[in-house]
Symmetry: C2
Subunit: 317 residues, 2 copies
DNA sequence: TCAAAAGTGTTATCCTTACACCCATGT
DNA sequence: ACATGGGTGTAAGGATAACACTTTTGA
C-alpha cells in the first residue's frame, strides 16, 4: 500500500480489475454453469496483488464463494465495463476465465450459489430438436424489421447476410459455435433486456432467457462459443466426463454442449478411431435396452488437453 | 479524478493496465511486426478512462506512437506482470491485441519505431527449409538434458512427450501453430535471456532470437500462434494482402506466416475451389517465368472475417 | 411382443495428396 | 536452350455420411 502511495502517475492509470469465472459441468447430459446471487451473476471477485497469477485469483474466488473446486482452466476474454468506468472515472476491467469441472459439488457454500442449465440463459441455443418455433415466429420478424429499417441498400445487404449467417437461414447452415454472434445481434437489435436500448416485445423468460448482472450473460456466451468450438478439435470433453461412461452417455454429453444432435453410428466409430478411449471390462444396464460397455479416457488425454493434440466429431444428425 | 478519490476500497483493488499491440504486415512475402524502442518493445500505452473501448485504446496508442493505422483488430490475451506487481504493490496488467495491416507505412513517426521480420525474434519458427541444423545440434541436447534432470520417471516421461510434441520429434510432426508452447518450453528450460533463471550457453541472436522488454516476446509468440492457427480456417490473410496479387504471391505470403512450405498445385486448386477470390483481367510479369494472372479477394470476404465463415489450406510440402 | 439402445457392416461420395505433364516468358 | 514460375489433369487413398441390419435387454 505504501508503494502505491508513492506512485506519481495520475489516477487515469489506476483502475479496478475483476475476475469472472464461467465454470461448466455436465449433469445428466446437460450443461450447467455455476452461478451466484440466485443465478443473476457468475462468480467474481477483485484481482489483488496477493494473487500469484490471474488463474490463481480466479481459483481462489470461486473456491471462497462457492466451495466448488475448478479443474481445467483457460482464459476467455477481457471486457471493459463502460458504465462503471464512466461513473467511477477509472477503467473497470473484467478478465474472464472458462473452467471445466468433473462433478458438480452439491454442498455449495452460499445459499445463493447454484448450478443452472445454461439454456436457461440462451434458450435458442438448444438446437437438438431443430430450431424452436418461437424463433421463427417471434425473433425472425424482429430481425427482418431491423434489416428493413436501414435505408442504405449496401448496409441492408450486410445486415441480411449477418442475420442469415447467425441463424443458419438462406444458403447458410446452423453453426452451433456462433453463440456470441447471435447474442450480440439480439443485443444490438434491442431484444435483450440487458441492452440499454431494449424494446420489450413481450418475450417470456423461456424465449429470451434469464438476465444477468453486469453483462455476465455476454461472458457466458463467450464461454459457450469457445467450448463449442473447442470440443471439435481438442478432447476437452474428458475434463467434464466422469471416470467411466458409455459411448451413448459421451454422445449425449457432447450433444448437450453443442446443442445439436449427432449421428449415432458414425459418432461411435469416429470416437473409437481416435485412440482417446480405452475399454473397461465393465458393462452397465442403468438404462433401457441392451447393456453397454463402459469406457474411460486414456491417461495421456488429460495431459494433451494442456499441451495439444486433436480430436474430431461428426457432423450433425 | 475526484470520483476516484471518493473510492473507499483499499488500493488492493487499484491497478495499472497497459494495452499492447502486435501489428503484423507482410512485406515481400515475409511477415513483419511493428516495434518501438529499436525493436526492443511492441507499441504499448496505458489504458485510460477516456478510451471508449479497449480496441479504441489500442488503435489510439499505435497511431500516436507510430502513425501506422491498424486495420483488422482482435483481442489476444491478458497477462499480469508479476515483477511490476510485486514492486508497485498493485496489479499490473497487459491486455494485448493482434492487428493486421495491409501495407507497412514507411513514414513512421518515431525514429525508434520500425517493422522487423518476426523471425528475428523466433528464428526456429522459420521451418520453410525444414528444421535448422542448430536446433538439432544445440537446442535438442539442452532439452534432452532437461528431461534427464528429472528423477521421477512419470514426470520425465511427460517432459519427453512435451518436448516431442513441441518440436515434432518422435512420432509427432511439426505443428507450426505451437509457437507459444515452444517459447514457453525454451523459457522454462532457461534458454531464453528474458527468463529469470537464464543459463547462457552461447547461442547467437540468429539462433535464440532478439530479446524484448517486459516479456513482449511472449506476447508476440501468442500472436503468431493465433495467426498461424487462424489462417487455416478463416481467410484473415485477406487483411494482409494488397488489392491485387498472383496466386504464387498469396502462397508465399501464407508460407511466410505459417513458416512452412506448401504444395504448389494443390494450394492453387484449394484456394480456387473456395470462392474467396475473383480473377481480374490483368496479368503481371514482374517476375521470371510466364506472366501470371492477378486476383483479388471478393468483396464479402472482408465482411466474413469480422463475422464468420471458413477457409482451408493444404498440408505442408 | 415391442421399444430402446448396443453394436456391425457396407457403400457412395468427397476431399486431399501426389504425381505427371504442358505452357509462356526472360535471360 | 533452359530455368522459372503459371497452369491443367488425373488417379490413389482416406475420411465421412448415409443406410441397412442384427443383437440384447427391460417393460
Amino acid at each position: 500500500m505504501s508503494a502505491s502511495a508513492v506512485e506519481t502517475t495520475s489516477s487515469q492509470n489506476e483502475g479496478t480489475t475483476e475476475l469472472v469465472a464461467v465454470l461448466i459441468a455436465i449433469t445428466r447430459f446437460s450443461a450447467r454453469v455455476l452461478t451466484v446471487m440466485d443465478g443473476q451473476s457468475l462468480p467474481f471477485g477483485a484481482l489483488s496483488p496477493v494473487h500469484q497469477s490471474l488463474q490463481a485469483g480466479v481459483r481462489q474466488w470461486v473456491k471462497t464463494q462457492t466451495r466448488q473446486p475448478m479443474g481445467y482452466v483457460e482464459q476467455l476474454y477481457t471486457f471493459v465495463d463502460t458504465t462503471r468506468t464512466r461513473l467511477s472515472g477509472h477503467p473497470v476491467l473484467y478478465v474472464s476465465y472458462l473452467g471445466l469441472a468433473k462433478e458438480a459439488a452439491e454442498n455449495l457454500l452460499q445459499e445463493h450459489a447454484g448450478w443452472r442449465d445454461w439454456y436457461c440463459y440462451f434458450p435458442w441455443e438448444d438446437y437438438r430438436q431443430g430450431q424452436a418455433d418461437w424463433v421463427e415466429q417471434k425473433i425472425r420478424p424482429q430481425l427482418q424489421a431491423w434489416i428493413q429499417q436501414e435505408s442504405d441498400p449496401a448496409i441492408r445487404n450486410n445486415r441480411q447476410r449477418r442475420v442469415d449467417i447467425c441463424w443458419g437461414w438462406g444458403e447458410f447452415g446452423w453453426v452451433e459455435e456462433h453463440v456470441l454472434l447471435r447474442y450480440e445481434l439480439l443485443y444490438e437489435v434491442g431484444l435483450i433486456p440487458e441492452a440499454p436500448h431494449f424494446r420489450d416485445i413481450g418475450l417470456s423468460k423461456n424465449e429470451i432467457g434469464l438476465s444477468m448482472q453486469r453483462d455476465h450473460r455476454r461472458v457466458l456466451a463467450t464461454a459457450m462459443s469457445r467450448l463449442r468450438a473447442k470440443i471439435k478439435y481438442r478432447p476437452v470433453i474428458s475434463e467434464l466426463m466422469p471416470q467411466e461412461f458409455t459411448l451413448f452417455q459421451l454422445q449425449q454429453s457432447i450433444e448437450g454442449l453443442a446443442g445439436v444432435e449427432m449421428h449415432k453410428q458414425n459418432f461411435r466409430r469416429l470416437i473409437q478411431h481416435q485412440d482417446l478411449l480405452e475399454e473397461t471390462d465393465k458393462m452397465t444396464n442403468q438404462h433401457r435396452g441392451r447393456p453397454a460397455r463402459l469406457y474411460r479416457f486414456k491417461e495421456n488425454v488429460l495431459l494433451e488437453n494442456i499441451l495439444a493434440a486433436g480430436s474430431k466429431l461428426p457432423k450433425t444428425h
